[in-house]
Symmetry: C2
Subunit: 107 residues, 2 copies
DNA sequence: AGGATAATTAACTTATTAGTTAAGTACAAA
DNA sequence: TTTGTACTTAACTAATAAGTTAATTATCCT
């Protein structure tokens, strides 16, 4: 509904097919057919997933003859990572507190 | 569809209302009414959002009188963070390569 | 016991998402 | 210029998600 950029990204990442595509792209750029290969679903379905990733800014596309190769957007996950930072700090804080506590009862 | 745990988490995080709830919980536990306060939507809608967060393992709940306070699940985002690590490495690799390149042309 | 407060469940509506097949576009190659 | 390859768009269906109001459950307080 409120399609802010961060929500778009997280929603895009919430689908295992799309995450598998990103994983494939970690090894380098790939055409639509290459991305489609591991899946049983139709090519239009693949095409839509790719569009979701592109709209979310997670991948970019180029053009080579009749192919439309996809590549990871280098800073595509940066926004997600930034958002997570605050929570990562919390885990670390809790871990630190736990360590301190364990140290205390040990003494 | 394939509701694996990581997808559940990312889908849950893809909603700004739910992220706002998590942000509130960073300041400490909160009751349903407290979580609902900033929003105009109905309490049942809030209740559903909370259930999504709970099912995803992002929050836990306790019981205090007739309240059902929510708290952040300490390692709730750990799985997401682990998933992101591989991609974070890619950014860093690219940044490193860029730095190396800049260094090269500078010399 | 009876009423107030906190929250959930039920039943429903509407919008969005994920998939399908069939048709269309863009380019390459013969 | 026709044929094939690579993909996208259109039109549709079915499932899921996000919200609503009304009813229900659980606990506290008098």
């Amino acid at each position: 509904m409120n399609a802010d950029r961060l929500s778009l990204k997280l929603q895009a990442l919430g689908d295992p097919t799309r995450r598998a595509m990103l994983a494939r792209l970690r090894q380098g750029e790939a055409t639509v057919n290459e991305l489609a290969a591991p899946f049983t679903m139709s090519l239009p379905a693949i095409s839509k997933h790719i569009k979701v990733l592109e709209t979310a800014g997670l991948i970019t596309r180029s053009r080579a003859a009749q192919q439309r190769p996809c590549q990871l957007s280098p800073d595509g996950l940066r926004e997600v990572d930034d958002w997570m930072r605050a929570y990562r700090d919390i885990w670390e804080d809790r871990l630190n507190r736990l360590e301190t506590y364990l140290q205390t009862i040990k003494e």
